[in-house]
Each structure stands twice: as C-alpha cells, then as structure tokens.
C-alpha cells in the first residue's frame, strides 16, 4: 500500500513560474558584463580536412579584433571528451566534422567580428569523406582519428543461451532491417555562455546554458590547467536541453574561459540557431538488423541482433548511449537465446551524443515493429503477443538479470492502455477496412496517374497501434551513481534547498521542494531553492538518464530526514515525552494528538537553534550495486526498471501519405508520482518529441554538411500536429529513491515512434522500416532524394 501524503502527488505551482511568465527569468544570453567582449568562431566549409595553417594577418589589420584564440592559447588539455579524449577544443591538425571550430576572434562588436572572421585565411587540404556507417569498418576506410587503429568507437556483445539451437527450435524465422536518422535537440534556447575572469588569482566564473555544471567544471579546469576550485560554474535558467547542452556547452565554456583569461575581460559566446544546429551533437542514427525465431504460437525462441550506430566525428557519449541499447535491444520480453552486437563507429557526419531516450528510441522502433509482425504471422493480436512474451515477476532479462524487488507492471500498463483506447475492437475494425484501401502510387515511378486518384470517401484511413518498453533507471552499470543534497533550515522555518543535480527546465526544483516539504510537513512555499553553483554543492553526476527524481530525490529525502531526526529530539524534550513515533509533521506544525501537544514548525526551528542543534545537513543517496561483464554482456544492468505502453490513433491521408495524430494514450509506471504537474508535462513533452521523431524530424547531411540549419527546414511539432495526449500513471511499488519515485522523462519519448509505425500499418496495411514516417515514406516506402527527380527530357 502506498503511503498517505501531504503534498506529494498534489498539484503544486512551479517554483520558477512567476519569473518565466513575466520575462524576468534570466537565461544565459540575458547576462551581460561591463567591458564584455564577444567571440566569433572560425570554421571551414568541409567535413574532413587536414589543417595546414591559419593566417590572421588581414583580420588583425582590420582593427576590429582585440585578440585571436586557438589551440596555442590553451594552457592545459587541448582535447577533451567524456571517455575518449578525442575532441579538440580548437582543431589544429584536422577537421573531422562540419561544425568543427579552428579558432576564435575576440572583439568589442559582434557584427564587426563577423566581418573580420571572413578575413582569416585557412590553408587546408580536403580528405576523402566517410559518411556511410557500413563502410566505416572496411579495410580501406579512411581512419578518422589516426591515433586509433580503426574507426570502431565501441563494441558491446551480449551472449545468452545457444542461438543456433534457438533458431532450430523455431517454427518461423523473420529477418528485418530498420534505420533511424540524425535528430537535432532543437532546444528553443540556443547555446550561450559568459566567462568572467576573477581578479587576484581567484580563477574564473562561468555563467551559461549548461546542463551539467559539475561536468563543465571538470572540462574547463582541465583545459585551463586549474584546480577544480578555481573554476566556478553557475547555471543560468536553462531554455531546454534534452541531453543536448552537455558536451557542446562544456567545450564552449572552455573556449570562453580561454579567451577571458587571455584578454582579462569577460567574454561571451552566444550562438545563432544556425551555429547551434551546425556544431551541436545529435541523436545517433542506427542501422538495426534483427533476426528472430519463434514458435507457431508466437513464443520468442531466439534473437540475433546487430546494431550499428553513427558516432560521427567524435566518440562523445557513444559508449554510454550504445550500452543502453545492448541492455534493452530485446525489449521487455523473455528470450532464451540471444546474440547481440552493438557497435558505434566514427564517420565525418555530425557527431552524436546524449539525447532524451539515450540509445533506446532506435531499438524500440525496430523491435516493437517486429513484435507486431510476429503477431501477424502467429495470427494473434498485438496485445496477445506481448502477454505471451512480456516480463513478469521473476522473468530473466537478456543479460540474465532476474526481475524482482519492484512491481513488474509491464502487462498492467499494456492492459490499461488497451482498455483506455478500446484497442482490440478499433484494431480489428481498421484492419477490416484496410482491404478496401486504395493502392498507393507506383513506388518505382512516383508519377501520379489517373488510376491513382482516390475517391474522397476512401481517402482517409484510421489506424491504431501500440508499443511497450521496459527501461533501466538511472546510469546502471555504466557509471558511478550517487547524488548529494543540501538543506539549511532558518530560525523562522524557511528553508534553503539545493540538489547536486541541476534543473534542466523540466521542473526539478519543484519536485525537490515537494519532497523536502513532505518530509518536514511544511508547505513548499517555505522553500527557497538556491542557484545551481559548483561552489556550493557536491558533484552528483549529471542530470541524465531520467535519474534526477530517483537519485536527486533520494538525496533530498535523506537530507530532510536528517533535519527531521534532529527536530524530533528537540520536540520530544519540548513536549516532555519519549516516543517520537507519535509525532506528526503536518500543516507547518508538529503535533502529538494523544497528549494534545503541538508546536509551530518555525517555533521548533527557533528552539533548535537556541539549543545549539544544527539545522543544516547534506543528504546523500547511492544506488544499490549493479554489475556487467563486458565480454558476455551479462549482469544486473540497472537496479530498477520502469514500464510504459503507448497507443497511437492516427488518420492517414491515402493520397498524400500525411499522417495526423488523433490521440496518444500514454500509460507509464514511474513509481510514485511526486510532482503531478511536472509529470504531466514530461508526458506531453516526451510524446510530442517522440511524434516528431516518428513522423517528421531528420537531419540530412550531404558529404557531412547539414542542410537543415534552422526551423524553416528542420520541422518540429507545433500545437496543431497532435490532437490529444492522454497521460495515465500506474504507480508501482519500489523501495528505491524517495518513496519509490523513478523515471519518466525518457520513457515517454522512446515509445511513440514505434506506436505510430504500428498504427500506420493498421491503417494502410504497409509496414515501414525507416524513420521518419513522412509523406514520401508512407506513400513510396522510401526517402526521396533530389536525384530521384530526373526529367524525361534530360535523360
């Protein structure tokens, strides 16, 4: 049974709402300093080249430049990266991807700087460009980073059971290949950072749109060759991140810092949308090959999976991202025999890194599409196939982890989603209607002929489809998993609070305030959330992997509980009783109803202070142990999991291939819901981004050069693209974190594209394999390229 809460799970107004609706919230670009200089980046318009020389003479002679900055100005590490240090802060030998920066011009006026930057002469030699991931491991492939043997960034194998025997025992074997594209985070706020040198050997202060201040601090300190304490990073209000303002921002911070120390003046870098899309990392494109064996009844027997991810020019987060893929590639299903290989390779495409979902949206699109196909062959419904194979209590995952210790709510979320959307009857009805679906135009010859005209009454087909997943919470065996929280209660009962995990705009401050307020029985408006500053709070790892509510919340609860225990002592003395179990913290008072005793929270705090009891504390939360064998891919990958199921209801225009989303039912088990408004926001946002991934979004590059550099070409969902999103929460029991609150941000995104693909199949009878499922994909089953349109006359 769930506990009864005072404010957990109740609607609470966002901490930052007032400032954000009045325009007072300060984002990074809203900070300006006296004497501030600007920086302009120097790039070359190629994706692979050897740099021979950079000549600043003419630019300097223009008189518009206060200083130049390149790798020769870096006192410390010239290359950085979360695992492999392969990314230069300023490129001095090679350019390996189109966003690469060689140098910066620093000056008073940014308009003039742009002019001056055209006068910098770079002498370079173009190198052969590698864009095809399949060719990256060929013998004769260009080695992108000569310091490594080949273009392989990482390879994760997973071996379970006997794959050959599994296929032998199968009645059916199905093989399919899927692809997914580069995706841009498209956070509405472009990157901005100001570095301010501090007088008197006190190092540097940096304010920026930085997702993870502690990570940025590590990078900047390494680049400057300074101790961590001399680099103070303050996070400005963050205008969206979704995993995107991590590595790019760390490097931008380092560049600004180098320039600020060189000029001894504050230096600001702020990007235009074009620069933002050009340089920032993307979601990994994957090529996914699945071979699956199953019985007549639809029971999975064997899965052979080969995933190849495009890391682009730098390794960045690829080793972490692809690790999640290897854990979750088989989906939430028990399979006796599994043989998985996940690889990431270097190319000259835009580099790729962390993005909400983090290695799960790609395999889920493939494997959930596949499950519907298997169901069709077995002659059962999409619900039935998932019931036959889905995880239940005691199930064993592909990495041989036995699922227990938390409620395994997979089938519960599937059933609830099916019920809520009337899935089976709609699915059957649409399927019957498919038989009189008009045929699409000839895929090989996309010219519309009279017989392709569709009668209006037959033009729109409805479809419904579902997808389900399990998702490991937090970092799992891929990283050190612990978090800190700081609480300081004042004598008037008001409270300073801060978590080591930074707000990313999703409402973490509010969630954390609710947790502290719940423990202490106070209203959350007594809490003043402090500015995110590396000078105040301990490194708690990054705000990634939907770990913040779980890990950060655990630490906040710990900190508040330390305070509560101390207050208990004071209250017992004050009431002159001995048993603190009878104390109730509620409505800003501490009471013992039996003896009719009570005291105001603020009074108790004053009392504590008067009796020299410390009301400041640091809370700490550490995840239970997890483990992983690199050779066999076996182990307890994550300490707990969440489950979700989404149902997409679409209308497909049979003459244009356009897909309209009527409704997405999103059923998620995030454990206990702490901040209900924030949780709803996560579902709306995740589903909307998932829909963009499913239907519209793609960064296409030619020879590694990005074409979609602004929102006119990079299409993200607007308010008119989805009619309705229906979030439903099932709150499963879990012992971890704050009252079993787990992850939600990423599960909401990872399912939508697969649910859409299955819905489009239900409407049109066509199975699609390549994201995004845009007009041409739906109509022609392929992506049109300019060369597809050749005039008859020019042949």
């Amino acid at each position: 049974m769930k506990e009864k809460f005072n404010i957990v799970g109740k609607p609470v107004i966002r901490q930052d709402a007032f400032n954000k609706v009045t325009g007072q919230a300060k984002f990074a670009d809203d900070y300006n300093y006296p004497n501030q200089l600007y920086a302009a980046m120097i790039r070359i318009p190629v994706s692979h080249a050897k740099i021979k020389s950079i000549d600043y003479t003419e630019a300097i002679e223009s008189g518009l430049v206060a200083a130049t900055c390149d790798s020769s100005d870096i006192p410390g590490a010239k290359k950085v990266g979360p695992i492999r240090k392969d990314q230069p802060v300023f490129c001095d030998e090679k350019v390996v991807t189109s966003g690469d920066v060689l140098a910066m011009l620093i000056g008073e006026n940014e308009y003039e700087l742009k002019q001056a930057s055209k006068k910098v002469k770079v002498d370079f030699e173009e190198l052969p460009i590698l864009t095809d991931i399949e060719k990256a491991m060929d013998e004769d492939a260009q080695i992108i980073h000569p310091e490594f043997e080949n273009n392989l960034i990482v390879h994760y194998p997973l071996r379970k059971g006997n794959i050959d025997k599994g296929f032998e025992e199968s009645d059916h074997i199905l093989e399919q290949t899927y692809t997914t594209p580069h995706i841009e985070h498209a956070y509405i706020e472009p990157e901005a950072v100001v570095a301010v040198p501090l007088e008197g050997n006190r190092g540097i202060k940096i304010i920026g749109s930085i997702q993870n201040p502690h990570t940025a601090r590590k990078v900047v300190a390494a680049v400057l060759g300074l101790p961590l304490t001399k680099v103070r990073i303050i996070q400005a209000e963050l205008g969206g991140s979704f995993g995107g303002k991590d590595d790019t921002m760390n490097i931008l911070s380092a560049r600004a810092a180098v320039a600020a120390l060189k000029t001894k003046r504050p230096v600001k870098i702020h990007y235009s949308r074009e620069e933002s899309i050009l340089e920032s990392y993307k979601r990994h494109p994957y090529r996914l090959k699945y071979k699956v064996g199953f019985s007549k009844a639809g029971k999975l027997k064997a899965m052979k999976i080969d995933l190849l991810a495009d890391g682009g020019g730098y390794s960045c987060m690829s080793p972490f991202v692809t690790w999640r893929s290897v854990v979750q590639a088989t989906g939430p299903y028990e399979v006796e025999n599994v043989w998985t290989d996940v690889r990431a390779v270097y190319t000259n495409n835009p580099y790729t890194g962390a993005f909400r979902g983090f290695g799960s949206p790609q395999p889920i699109f493939a494997q959930e599409s596949l499950m519907d196909e298997i169901a069709e062959i077995a002659g059962i419904s999409p619900i039935e196939i998932r019931k036959i194979n889905g995880f239940q209590k005691g199930s064993v995952t592909a990495s041989r982890q036995v699922l227990r210790d938390h409620e395994i709510n997979l089938l519960k979320v599937v059933e609830r989603a099916a019920e809520e959307s009337n899935f089976l009857s709609e699915w059957n009805k649409n399927k019957k209607d498919q038989s009189n679906a008009p045929s699409f135009v000839d895929e090989l010859n996309p010219i519309v002929k009279p017989e392709h005209f569709i009668h209006p009454s037959n033009n729109v087909k409805r479809g419904i489809g579902l997808a389900t997943s399990f998702r490991g919470c937090s970092l799992g065996a891929e990283g050190v998993d612990a978090a800190a929280a700081y609480i300081s209660v004042q004598t008037d009962g008001s409270i300073y609070l801060l978590s080591g995990l930074a707000e990313n705009g999703q409402g973490l401050k509010t969630t954390f305030s609710i947790i502290a307020a719940e423990v202490l029985g106070i209203s959350e408006d007594r809490i003043h959330y402090l500015e995110q500053d590396t000078g105040i709070i301990a490194d708690s790892g990054p705000t990634v992997a939907s770990r913040s509510t779980l890990m950060g919340g655990g630490a906040i609860k710990d900190a508040a509980t330390i305070i509560k225990n101390r207050l208990n002592e004071v209250a017992l003395k004050h009431f002159n009783i001995t048993d603190y179990d009878v104390l109730v913290y509620r409505n800003n008072t501490i009471s013992n109803t039996e003896n009719n005793l009570k005291i105001e929270f603020s009074e108790l705090c004053q009392l504590a202070f008067n009796s020299a009891v410390s009301l400041s504390a640091v809370g700490w939360y550490k995840g239970p142990n997890v483990g992983w064998d690199e050779e066999t891919g076996q182990g307890d990958a994550y300490f707990t999991y969440v489950y979700g199921c989404q149902v997409a209801d679409v209308s497909v225009d049979m003459s244009t291939g356009e897909v309209y989303i009527n409704k997405i039912v999103a059923v998620h088990d995030p454990g206990t819901v702490i901040n209900i408004m924030g949780a709803l926001g996560q579902v709306y946002g995740g589903v909307t981004q998932g829909a963009g991934y499913g239907l519209w979004e793609a960064i296409e590059s030619e020879k590694g050069m990005i074409k979609e550099l602004n929102y006119d070409l990079y299409i993200i969902p607007t308010s008119k693209d989805i009619d309705k999103i229906e979030p439903i929460f099932i709150e499963g029991e879990d012992d971890h974190g704050a009252w079993g609150a787990k992850s939600l941000g990423e599960p909401t995104l990872e399912l939508t594209s697969a649910a859409l693909a299955n819905a489009i199949k239900n409407a049109t009878g066509k199975r699609l394999f390549n994201l995004p499922l845009n007009l041409e994909e739906v109509l022609l089953s392929k992506k049109l390229r300019p060369k597809d349109f050749v005039r008859e006359s020019s042949k």
Binding site: R14, D16, A17, F18, N19, K20, V21, T22, G23, A25, K26, F27, D29, Y31, N32, P34, Q36, Y38, N109, Y111, H185, Y187, I188, E189, P190, I207, R232, E237, L238, G239, G240, S241, S272, Y486, N504, G505, Q506, L530, G535, I536, A612, S614, S616, M677, L680, G681, Y684, G685, G686, T688, Q689, N710, Y711, I716, P717, T718, S719, I722, K724, I725
Partner: protein, 207 residues
C-alpha cells in the same frame, strides 16, 4: 556548565551560523564572493555597444516614449534586448520561423526578429515586461502559472504575447481559434496542451 564551555558553545554556534561545516561554509562564501566580485549577476547590465548607431528611433514601448540612437540595420528584437534591456523578448531562430520573439505592435502580434527596428517608428510596442502592472499579473500570465503552460519557459514570452494579441482581436476565441493563432509559436518542451488550457482559462477568467 562552566563559563569556558559556555563561551565555547557560543563560538561554536557562531561558527555554525557563519562558517558552518562543509557546505554551509560554501554558502556564506558565495555571498561574500558576490559582494567582493564587482561583476556579480545583479550588477551585470551593460548592453553591447554598437559604433554604427547613426539613426534616431522614436517609439512607444510598454506605454513609455523612447528616443533611441540605433544602428539602422538592427532588428526590433535586438533593440528591445540590447538598448532597452527588455530581455524577456527572446531570439530563437532570428528568421521568423518560431514565434519566440513575438511582441505586440499596434495591437497585432509581430515577429520582432523579422523586422527592422526603424519600421517600428512611431508605433506602440508591448513586450512581455509590459503585461505586468506593478505587482499585478495579467490574467494570461496568471493562467499560464495556474495551468502550468510552460516548462523551460524560453518560448513562454512569445506564447503569451501571441495569446495577448489574439485576445485583443478576438476576446472569445474557441479551442480551434487558439490552436490556429498560436501554431506559429513552437515549444520544444511540448507544453502545448497546457498552453492551450492556459489561454482557455484566461478567456474564461476574463468573462
């Protein structure tokens, strides 16, 4: 209790209060840095300088008459942000594709990134800052807070200004009207359902 330990206790309390253990100490440290550091956030208000400020622009912004020396190639968004320090207006795409910079000019929503400031000469411009009357929130702002019509908040000023312009021209819009009028304001956080509810609530509260 001896006198000694008494004074000890007080000094320890002072220690806890001022310097404290571990992290408390850091908090104090920050405020002292803030005081010593002349470039702390609150003092940081120097807009960028532009040597080509050759033209004079007269306009009304949030009810106040302004006479500004500007670079004739500046956009309205740049002038609002850099000359008047009205940083609530955001520059997102700088090409009229996202609605992030929306302000209201002579009662109509315009993209401030997409017009020259000089084209606003003599006009009445309202920005997000202009909706606040003293401490009083506009009913739209109130509704956005109540219905949680935001996440990161970066698109929010533009969203609210679009809605403000809509309500000026159509005081009783329905759901479809709102969706249509605001479809030019993109929100990557995907707060659309709540944004819609916020505007609906504002309409309802006004009536």
């Amino acid at each position: 209790m001896s006198k000694d330990s008494e004074s000890n206790k007080i000094s320890r309390r002072n220690f806890l209060g001022k310097a404290g253990t571990g992290i408390v100490g850091s908090t104090i440290l920050i405020s002292s840095i803030g005081a010593a550091d002349k470039t702390g956030p609150d003092l940081a208000e120097a807009p960028p300088i532009d040597p080509k400020e050759t033209d004079i622009l007269n306009l009304w912004v949030n009810g106040k008459k302004q006479k500004l020396k500007i670079n004739p190639s500046s956009t309205l968004a740049e002038v609002l942000r850099n000359k008047l320090n009205l940083t609530g207006t955001k520059i997102v795409c700088n090409q009229g594709a996202c609605g992030g910079c929306t302000v209201v000019m002579d009662n109509k929503a315009v993209y401030a990134c997409h017009m020259l400031a000089l084209d606003a000469a003599g006009k009445k411009v309202v920005t997000i800052e202009g909706l606040l009357e003293g401490e009083e929130l506009n009913h739209l702002q109130e509704a956005f807070i109540e219905k949680d019509g935001l996440q990161c908040g970066f698109c929010t000023p533009g969203q609210i200004m679009s809605a403000y312009a809509l309500l000026l021209s159509k005081p009783n819009p329905n759901r479809e009207d709102i969706m249509e009028a605001m479809s030019g304001n993109i929100c990557r956080c995907g707060a659309y359902p709540n944004i819609l509810d916020s505007v609906l609530l504002a309409v309802q509260n006004k009536n």
